[in-house]
């Protein structure tokens, strides 16, 4: 396995949110994490991104523990949170300048993922004036600046219209095809269909899950303690 998440634990005071979450995935995979609200899905993603510190466990990328090597993690992993990590008063272009070198930015806008995401259409617009879909596309564009191997996404297409959703999912497909690994926290059926593997987070642990398209069955499984 290229990515091996082993026995991740996290507690807030006495509240044990993750008690030993583990899963593995290879390049080109899309690993989806599902679960009810408050089960710790976003917490797990933040730990993998380096935003939070785990109380135990490892996250190995090709044998190297990313939790112990922040510089390697920063090179390997990119994270797109639920909210928008943007500077609201500045244009989309200015926001991209924070993450890209001028050369890489030009290339990506001309022929790379930024072009695929449709970012050139709103390059000069101030971030606060962008629609929800545009903001999300810009956030993903910023995350892809370092050409990461692993992209962590927290409900990437929540509350977006179908056209925007389609465009973003196409970008994810393209990222996967180029050898990237996607890990996404989701509640969305479309996103689940994109995933090559699903894991249900319940009781602080992850277990493999197969989604057959039966929504009622999924609901029952989510509600099960």
């Amino acid at each position: 396995m290229d990515l091996s998440v082993e026995n991740i634990q996290k507690r807030y005071g006495r509240n044990r949110v993750l008690t030993g979450a583990s899963f593995g995935a290879d390049r080109g995979d899309c690993a989806g994490i599902i679960g009810s609200n408050g089960t710790g899905k976003s917490t797990l993603l933040r730990i993998l991104a380096g935003v939070l510190r785990a109380n135990g466990g490892r996250c190995l990328w090709q044998g190297e523990d990313l939790l112990r090597h922040p510089s390697l993690r920063a090179r390997t992993v990119a994270y797109v949170p639920q909210g928008t990590p943007l500077i609201e008063e500045l244009s989309a272009l200015d926001n991209l300048r924070l993450w890209y070198t001028p050369k890489d930015l030009e290339r990506s806008l001309d022929e790379g993922l930024l072009r695929d995401l449709g970012v050139p259409d709103f390059l000069k617009t101030t971030a606060s004036r962008l629609s929800g879909g545009m903001r999300k596309r810009l956030s993903i564009g910023c995350a892809l600046a370092r050409d990461p191997s692993v992209l962590l996404l927290d409900e990437p297409t929540a509350a977006l219209d179908l056209v925007c959703k389609e465009r973003i999912l196409e970008t994810f497909e393209s990222f996967r095809r180029s050898g990237g690994l996607l890990v996404l926290v989701t509640h969305d059926q479309w996103e689940m269909e994109l995933c090559s593997q699903l894991h249900l987070l319940s009781g602080g642990k992850l277990s493999p899950y197969t989604y057959t398209g039966d929504l009622q069955g999924l609901l029952r499984d989510l509600e099960r303690p």
């Binding site: 933040r46 991104a49 380096g50 935003v51 939070l52 510190r53 922040p70 510089s71 993690r73 920063a74 992993v77 994270y79 949170p81 639920q82 909210g83 928008t84 990590p85 943007l86 500077i87 609201e88 008063e89 500045l90 200015d94 300048r97 924070l98 070198t101 606060s128 910023c142 995350a143």
Partner: protein
């Protein structure tokens, strides 16, 4: 490390974008404050009871001469512009004194004027509602005693002189001589312009009133500027902080870049305000003795203002880190500005306050800033507030950093 200059550059850019709006808000607030002050001053101008100290006069009801003397005092003496004497009954006077509607009540004993004519001393009682053992009360007591003995001794001298004239110069009218004596005495001794000269020497470590207000207003400007700066702080994205942190640009670098951009904004505002103050002081001919001594202008206060502004800026930054929303941030800044400005002697000299409040005010960031400016303006060889200013600055930044780190990990 490439991200640090990029992030700082972008923070500067957003600060520059917000600057015109912030300056406009500050200008609007300043104009509104000036207009309110002007309207209040005009209202008070029309109401004579508000501008003068009211002193009640009661007792010795049988004597018309006392009323006449008061009328004379109110129509001739220059004290009429600042003090209003009102004739009233003692009971009414005491009641008004308790309500705070009178500043003092003078009680003349019955037969006071009559007794005075015979050189007999019947003490006048002065009642005030500012009892205590402070300097003001002690001076009031001393003044009342001085005036009382001055009047008595004067009367004794006049009647003694009359008796002397009667005995030694029988061909002259003793009463006429007495009147002449009184007139000469009054013009020579009781002429207020010549009676005393008030000089306020610059005791080594105290500022002139004008300099004190210049320092106070400068700090109030810095304190209130943070309210106008709310757009700079309220629209920061928590997620951006988290993502940057995960990407290697930690809380310390984020706080450093944002604070520096905020401080540069503050510097721009201070430069604009300093220029305005320079023009206004010149236009109205206000002289700051401390600046005159060093041949400096209001603009030369700016370098001395930098360390306190840096410290207050760090404090404001900390308050915005503490507040969860734009509204709570603005309220917190406003309350902090008003409270600190008041307690630290930016609005009134802090010597007006009781000892406890004075000590508290001196420890607040604005109080420390005032102390720093005082020492800087007086060009004291050692600035006792320097260590505290820099310690506070580092403490506030450190606390901001800890809060940011906590927020990034929440």
């Amino acid at each position: 490390m490439r991200k640090l200059p990029s992030y700082f550059g972008l923070q500067l850019k957003r600060a520059a974008r917000l600057l015109p709006r912030m300056l406009a808000v500050t200008l609007l607030l300043a104009v509104l404050s000036a207009m309110s002050a002007l309207i209040l001053a005009r209202l008070n101008e029309d109401d004579p009871s508000r501008e003068r100290v009211r002193i009640g006069v009661a007792g010795d009801s049988g004597e018309e001469i006392l009323s006449q003397a008061l009328d004379l005092l109110q129509s001739v003496d220059s004290s009429r512009f600042s003090v209003g004497f009102v004739r009233m009954e003692e009971a009414e006077g005491r009641k008004l004194l308790e309500k705070g509607e009178l500043s003092g009540l003078v009680l003349f004993p019955d037969g006071f004027a009559q007794a005075l004519q015979y050189g007999e001393h019947r003490p006048v009682t002065y009642l005030t509602n500012t009892a205590g053992s402070d300097v003001g009360s002690l001076m009031t007591r001393e003044l009342v005693a001085s005036i009382s003995s001055l009047i008595l001794e004067t009367e004794n001298a006049v009647y003694g002189a009359q008796a002397l004239v009667q005995a030694q110069l029988p061909d002259r009218d003793p009463y006429r001589a007495g009147d002449q004596l009184i007139t000469r005495y009054a013009s020579a001794i009781l002429d207020r312009a010549r009676l005393y000269a008030l000089e306020l020497p610059q005791a080594g470590d105290s500022l002139s009133l004008a300099a004190s207000y210049l320092c106070g207003l400068s700090l109030v400007f810095v304190l209130l500027w943070s309210v106008s700066c709310s757009p700079f702080f309220s629209r920061r994205s928590r997620e951006l902080g988290q993502v940057l942190s995960a990407d290697g640009l930690g809380a310390a670098a984020q706080v450093f870049c944002e604070f520096l951009a905020f401080f540069l904004l503050l510097l721009c505002a201070l430069a604009a305000a300093g220029l305005l103050a320079f023009l206004l002081l010149g236009r109205f001919g206000v002289v700051i003795p401390e600046l005159q001594r060093t041949e400096g202008s209001a603009l030369s206060l700016l370098p001395a203002l930098l360390p306190p502004a840096l410290m207050l800026g760090a404090f404001q930054f900390l308050l915005y880190e503490l507040s969860g929303s734009a509204v709570s941030g603005i309220l917190l800044q406003f309350l902090s500005a008003v409270l600190q400005g008041y307690l630290s002697g930016c609005f009134y000299p802090s010597s007006f306050f009781p000892e406890g409040l004075r000590r508290l005010g001196a420890l607040l960031p604005a109080g420390v800033g005032m102390e720093y400016l005082r020492a800087a303006l007086l060009a004291l060889p050692e600035n006792p507030a320097r260590v505290l200013v820099w310690s506070y600055f580092l403490l506030f930044l450190l606390l901001s950093l800890l809060l940011r780190r906590r927020r990034n990990r929440s």
